[in-house]
């Protein structure tokens, strides 16, 4: 489909999906249908979109009927990721709804024989000042929105808002607390069967042989599916599929593999890498007598670790596949499935349903491919596949390990004179829809395998491994270098904030070290190097909230630290202060966050994202690490991958700097870097010991102290 080039760029995703009726329908029954291409992943986006549309149309939010994303109907908004949904889907819907309102007002003016300026709207009722009224529901018909978006639409000014910026209760929470079947995991279709996959013991292994006879005769087993090294079983009942898969696992013989490196992120330093200077400023080098400081920071492989292992349902009937999936990108997934199977994209209808929170590219797409392969082997019957917990830990694409080396000098004034940041990492995106290959696990294991697309980083300025590598501080000289290690022994892909977690951890820990060396207060030292007024404002706000005392000292057991970043250097601003209690382990006991997300859409939704981001980051930073030996991932369940639990979660205080006049910025990923750094800095403040290798486990703490 080709679209005539618009004279001016349209806002958000309207640029690529300009047809208004793709997004909205005004219905005669007093409702408004909204069809976003972005999907709910637990972040509350659908509620925020309802809020935006209700605001622009001046209707009650309860009138809105949301239709989940599905390839036959929805605008193609790519992937729901990168905290971009408000900017892309939200802005598109804001302008689409504003234009719908303009069109409705024009019709009303003609009908009531008054000028548009004479009209006002309340909950879809248009009233003329001189009397007379007509409703949206009377005026709308199919022709109303059968047009492309105009570039001239003026949405409502912020001062007229009655709904945006306030708390609107999430539309999905009542069903979730009732235990309603809301997830793809809960889909239950007539004659549905259950399947499980038997993966190789480790990456790079191939299936030699498998004696299927004893499994075929097990109760409930319908079919064993083998295609190259893709192996699985379909059974009538779920527990029968699980039992049969366990038996298959015991009788399958594999070869190859065994090429995993040492389970330490510093293996990256020994790998072939592509070097790129991503930011360079100033010249001349350090003064000869300058004090030089260096430090090295690392993170191991970590997991998305969704609470619900990934799941999909597929049905193959009359040469068409219908697929129900919790993928973050139904269109890119469809494209990769078509390539994997060597058939047309048009043979697939892909329907999004919610899953457990994913926090990035987990196994959602991979299990969808598994489901399609099983459905192909058993036409007509819907096949439900859920990965076991062990599959999810062993085979999801991990957050990349990273190593960051910092070097800086201080000038005679005690400020930073030169700054160098060098990082080593794998690529942070191997999502479906990549160029030159297919990014679906099972597709690589087929008898006729398709190759993986080249692992890549999202480009700067947002960046991938180099996300947030360039400091926001105003240093006279800086150089930031990315070493991309493209070949990854264990698959890596997008995990919430991508490289931002580690780059900000390194920058903000190092700023603390330099402040210490300069005998300065860490808050004052940061402000001294920052001109950006919004950046300064969140740091000052967090310090005020926490009642920060200049040069405050820890007492050997308790301490506090700060971390700051502007996400991607173009998203939300956040400063986080945490208090830690350190005994045998590090515990975060309190946290304060000051955040500037520009215009707030759903105030409570943003707070929820901020609190959740802080808690998850405490967990990553203190506890999380994927372990593996030469052959396979050895982390297989929650007992070997502990995450933060209820007794360990701190109380959190969040404040906004509200800027209703500025564009809204996503809030989902702004906390990772600042929180990690704040914890490290608080530990230093408490103990005078610097923790630079995540996670800060008991063992790490002890070895740092002795």
């Amino acid at each position: 489909m080709s679209v005539a080039p618009a004279p001016r760029k349209l806002p958000g995703s309207l640029e690529t999906n300009p047809a208004l009726d793709l997004w909205l329908a005004i219905n005669a029954d007093g409702t408004v249908t909204v069809r976003p291409g972005k999907v709910e992943i637990g972040q509350g986006i659908l509620t925020a979109l309802v809020q935006i549309v209700a605001e622009e149309l001046d209707i009650g939010p309860e009138r809105i009927r949301l239709v989940g994303a599905a390839t036959p109907l929805s605008p193609n908004e790519g992937i729901t990721s990168g905290s971009r949904s408000i900017q892309e889907s939200g802005i598109a819907l804001r302008f689409a709804a504003a234009e719908a309102r303009e069109l409705l007002l024009a019709r009303a003016a003609a009908k009531l024989d008054v000028s548009v300026e004479q009209l006002s709207v309340k909950d879809g009722v248009i009233t003329a000042r001189a009397g007379g009224s007509v409703t949206y529901w009377e005026l709308a018909d199919e022709s109303l929105l059968r047009r492309d978006a105009s570039t001239a639409t003026q949405p409502k000014p912020a001062e007229d808002y009655w709904l945006v910026g306030r708390r609107l209760d999430r539309i999905d929470i009542p069903a979730k607390v009732r235990g309603d079947p809301v997830y793809v995991h809960d889909l239950d279709l007539p004659r549905m069967v259950h399947a499980r996959v038997v993966r190789p013991p480790g990456p790079g292994m191939q299936l030699d042989s498998v004696e299927v006879h004893e499994v075929e005769t097990m109760q409930g087993v319908i079919k064993i599916v083998r295609d190259g090294s893709f192996l699985g079983v379909i059974a009538e009942r779920e527990e029968q599929a699980i039992r049969a898969a366990r038996r298959l696992e015991r009788v399958a013989r594999w070869h190859g593999g065994g090429a995993l490196p040492a389970s330490d992120p510093r293996y990256l330093l020994e790998c072939v890498s592509e070097e790129e200077v991503v930011s360079e400023k100033g010249a001349g080098g350090a003064a000869p007598d300058a004090r030089v400081f260096t430090a090295e920071f690392t993170r191991p492989h970590i997991a998305h670790a969704s609470l619900g292992p990934s799941c999909a349902v597929a049905q193959f009937s009359q040469a068409r596949y219908t697929l129900w999936t919790h993928s973050q990108g139904i269109f890119p997934l469809r494209a990769d499935l078509a390539s994997a199977l060597g058939i047309s994209e048009n043979a697939f209808d892909v329907v999004h349903m919610e899953g457990a929170g994913c926090y990035g590219h987990n196994a959602a797409d991979d299990v969808a491919c598994d489901a399609v392969l099983f459905a192909r082997a058993l036409p007509e019957r819907p096949v439900r596949v859920q990965w076991m917990r062990e599959d999810e830990f062993a085979w999801e694409p991990f957050g990349s390990p990273m190593v960051v080396r910092m070097q800086a000098t201080l000038g005679a004034d005690g400020g930073v004179a030169t700054w160098a940041h060098e990082l080593w990492s794998h690529a942070h995106s191997t999502r479906p829809g990549g160029k030159g290959g297919v990014n679906l696990l099972a597709a690589w294991h087929l008898a006729k395998p398709v190759t993986a697309a080249r692992p890549a980083n999202p480009p700067l300025p947002a960046g991938g491994s180099h996300r947030n590598a360039a400091p926001l501080y105003d240093f006279p000289q800086q150089r930031v270098t990315n070493h991309l290690v493209r070949a990854a022994p264990l698959r890596t892909s997008a995990l919430r904030s991508l490289g931002g977690h580690v780059n900000v951890f390194a920058i903000e820990s190092f700023m603390d070290e330099l402040a210490q060396a300069a005998d300065a207060d860490p808050v004052e030292f940061r402000l001294r190097h920052l001109k950006d007024a919004r950046a300064r404002a969140v740091i000052e706000k967090a310090a005020a909230m926490a009642d920060w005392r200049p040069r405050e000292h820890g007492d050997g057991e308790h301490g506090r630290g700060i971390g700051f970043a502007r996400y991607k250097n173009l998203g939300c601003y956040a400063a986080v202060i945490v208090e830690v209690a350190v005994a045998e382990m590090v515990r975060v006991t309190r946290a304060w966050a000051a955040v500037d997300v520009g215009q707030v859409i759903n105030s409570d939704g943003v707070v929820n994202q901020i609190e959740g981001g802080i808690v998850q980051t405490i967990s990553w930073t203190l506890k999380e690490r994927i372990d593996y030996d030469r052959h396979s991932v050895t982390t297989r369940n929650w007992d070997t991958y502990p995450i933060l639990t209820f007794p360990e979660v701190p109380n959190i205080e969040v404040a906004f700097i509200d800027r209703p006049e500025l564009p809204p910025l996503g809030a989902g990923e702004g906390m990772q870097g600042p929180t990690a750094a704040a914890i490290g800095n608080a530990c230093y403040n408490a103990l005078k010991v610097r923790l630079r290798d995540m996670p800060f486990t008991r063992e790490r703490l002890i070895s740092a102290l002795v």
Binding site: I41, V177, H185, L307, G357, Q386, R389, W638, D639
Partner: protein, 154 residues
Amino acid sequence: MSLVIHVNGAAHTVAAEPETPLLYVLRNDLRLKGSRFGCGQGLCGACMVIVDGKAVQSCDVPVSAVAGKSITTIEGIGTPDRPHPLQRAFIAEQAAQCGYCVSGIIMTAKALLDVNPHPREDEIRAALAGNLCRCGTHTRMLRAIRSAGEGAPT
């Protein structure tokens, strides 16, 4: 073979092998999808139900072990018109993100409040030590459980 189990006040005859984990019987035979698979080893709490007053991880208990006992699932504690106080409190506090863990957490909290209607915060936290939430909505859930407890008669 068939077994009789008592779920949410009703008796059900189910055709499942005795060693089948209760979770699959609830989800696939009784079509009660609110108890969810998280780990299969009783390590995360997503499948929590109440059996004879105790919070039990249904992924980890064979259906034969609960025959004759009283089983309550998330679907059995309230209705859309008359939600349980915990369900009301979770909505009031907006205590969910993805929500996959929520029904298990509400069931653990209910088992606690049933024996200890006014728990201290540390008692709530300790009771929930076996329930994982990956989105990080813990502080909201703690507030919700506290307020549900405060609403109970003293």
